[in-house]
């Protein structure tokens, strides 16, 4: 296996040691070995923003902890939900006395662990409210949004909610903002090659050479179609057709665009994809106000990319532009 690891069962632990060592200015550990929180004074008097999810999606999730973004994060095994206890500990780490917003992705394990954790936290008098991201338009039909997975759109929901929390908004307002953001957000992914969980040692799905899987999930969940690979322009059309029609986005809309690599696709190619995305949006009369292109939400060494669009009103636009600092996303806020 062409990996930089020690014991495959310990990759998460070992990586967390490295992450803490590399970013003492951004992150600190907590009493729970699978919970990290933002370095610095804590967030007394503010609503805490928490997420959690499986490892292997770096920089998600831990890479979005920092000023103007997440206050704490619960960290699971590779591609597996964190434990209920880890979520609970993250809630406590993020608690500044005004309640905690847990903004996470729609996966069975995460749903259950968060639900249990909220129950556990409630016993200790801590109010936690949740928003479940379900931006992956390819993961269920639009009449069944409740079944859709959460993918890279989560990042935009964290950003707006955290920016609002930083301004002193109360828990209900923060939760409403996160919900509003994710409701205005749609994503779709294309997978070009599989990936291997180190402890498993072999891929548990496959994408044949010369084919692409449209609508693939972040853990190799089957998409809506397996097709012969297409030029970037056609891939972009396929993805944009899915996303634009779903909300739907239309002429005159302002949007934020996030193109994320799934891990092993060269950054050059993400820009080639973005080129076509930008052209399609221009052609559709949709104005791009914020752009993010890079490896924002990955799946180990999977090849492929995801495209995420958020329709903006003035408030979302403003919140996205406010300063934030983290491993995965830094906004200078001078724009």
């Amino acid at each position: 296996m062409n990996r930089i690891i020690d014991d495959p069962d310990d990759v998460v632990e070992d990586a967390l040691v490295g992450i803490r060592a590399a970013h003492p200015d951004l992150l600190v550990g907590t009493d729970h070995p699978r919970v990290m929180r933002a370095a610095g004074p804590g967030n007394a008097g503010r609503v805490g923003i928490v997420t959690g999810g499986g490892s292997g999606h770096e920089p998600a999730f831990v890479g979005y902890v920092g000023p103007g973004l997440l206050d704490a994060v619960a960290i699971g095994e590779v591609f597996a939900s964190p434990t209920a206890r880890a979520f609970e500990a993250a809630f406590k780490a993020a608690d500044g006395g005004r309640g905690v917003a847990c903004l996470y992705g729609n996966y069975a394990g995460d749903n259950m662990n968060v639900k249990m954790a909220v129950k556990l936290a409630a016993r200790d008098g801590l109010t936690v409210k949740t928003v479940v991201a379900n931006d992956d338009a390819a993961s269920a039909p639009s009449h069944d949004r409740g079944r859709r997975r959460g993918v890279a759109g989560e990042i935009l929901m964290w950003k707006t909610a955290a920016a609002l929390a930083a301004e002193g908004a109360d828990l209900d307002a923060v939760i409403a903002m996160a919900q509003k953001t994710i409701d205005a957000t749609r994503s779709v992914g294309i997978g070009l090659s599989a990936c291997t969980i180190p402890a498993a040692g072999k891929p548990n799905f496959s994408i044949a050479d010369g084919t692409m899987e449209v609508g693939i999930g972040h853990h190799g969940e089957p998409g809506i179609a397996v097709r012969p690979i297409e030029p970037a322009r056609a891939m972009a059309s396929t993805m944009m057709d899915t996303v634009l029609a779903d909300l739907p986005f239309g002429r005159g809309d302002d949007v934020a665009v996030l193109v994320s690599g799934l891990g092993a696709t060269p950054v050059m190619e993400l820009y080639i994809l973005y080129r076509h995305v930008a052209e399609i949006l221009a052609g559709a009369g949709i104005r791009v106000r914020h752009r993010f292109v890079g490896n924002y939400f990955t799946s180990l060494e999977m090849m492929g990319a995801s495209v995420t669009l958020t329709r903006l009103d003035g408030e979302l636009d403003r919140l996205l532009a406010l300063p934030a600092r983290s491993i995965g996303l830094t906004v200078m806020g001078d724009a």
Partner: protein, 220 residues
């Protein structure tokens, strides 16, 4: 034969439950491998093994033991099994809190609470091909037997038999929940891994309690 259990003396049943999971880990893995990602035995034995270590240091009555098991599952197992089995045992331990003995009605209350917790959390329904296909028939069989005024021991036997049947019935179901639901029709023809572990746990519980009921008679 007695009709109440001494909960403080029933702790060792937990050891049986741990043992059946650990001993069958490979089988649970391979059942899960057919329709899922092949780790159900690993996931389950992680938390159960850890509980056994704690119990060895400080043996517990059944109620606190269930609580300890629940805490360990919630602490150590992510994914779905931690919270599902965690809340199953947590809510059962809550029913047992403050009790020193357990009779037929108490058991029914406890089981109802545990099953409700699983259904509430996982939103699984009968026929979805999951734990629920063991838990719901088992609970219903126990209650039906109790309504017929069967002995506690008889009710446990009815539960055990229904659990076995529920487990076997998962073979012909199409998964509508969990990882296997991705396979659609292709999931038919395979036994469900979670149903298997659940069936093992209920069997160990029933057997342990029946043994204790029989013993108490012998001792009395």
């Amino acid at each position: 034969m007695a009709d109440t259990i001494d909960l403080l003396a029933a702790g060792p049943i937990l050891d049986d439950m741990v043992r059946t999971i650990v001993d069958n880990a490979d089988r649970l893995n391979s059942l899960d491998g057919a329709t899922g990602d092949g780790d159900h035995g690993v996931n389950m034995s992680k938390g159960f093994r850890r509980t056994a270590q704690k119990l060895a240091l400080a043996p517990q009555g059944l109620g606190d033991g269930f609580g300890m098991l629940a805490e360990t599952l919630l602490d150590e197992i992510g994914g779905s099994m931690g919270p599902l089995y965690g809340s199953f045992f947590l809510d059962m331990s809550t029913v047992l809190r403050g009790r020193t003995t357990l009779d037929r009605e108490g058991f029914a209350t406890m089981l109802r609470a545990g099953v409700a917790a699983v259904v509430d959390l996982g939103e699984g329904q009968l026929g979805d091909k999951s734990l629920v296909d063991v838990l719901v028939p088992a609970r219903d069989a126990f209650e039906a037997a109790a309504a017929r005024h069967d002995s506690f021991s008889g009710c446990l036997a009815a539960m055990d038999a229904a659990a076995e049947q529920g487990f076997e019935a998962t073979r012909d179901l199409v998964a509508r929940i969990g990882r296997a639901s991705r396979l659609g029709e292709r999931s038919r023809g395979h036994l469900d891994a979670g149903a298997a572990s659940c069936r093992l746990l209920l069997h160990a519980l029933a057997e342990g309690l029946e043994r204790q009921l029989a013993d108490r008679v012998g001792a009395a």
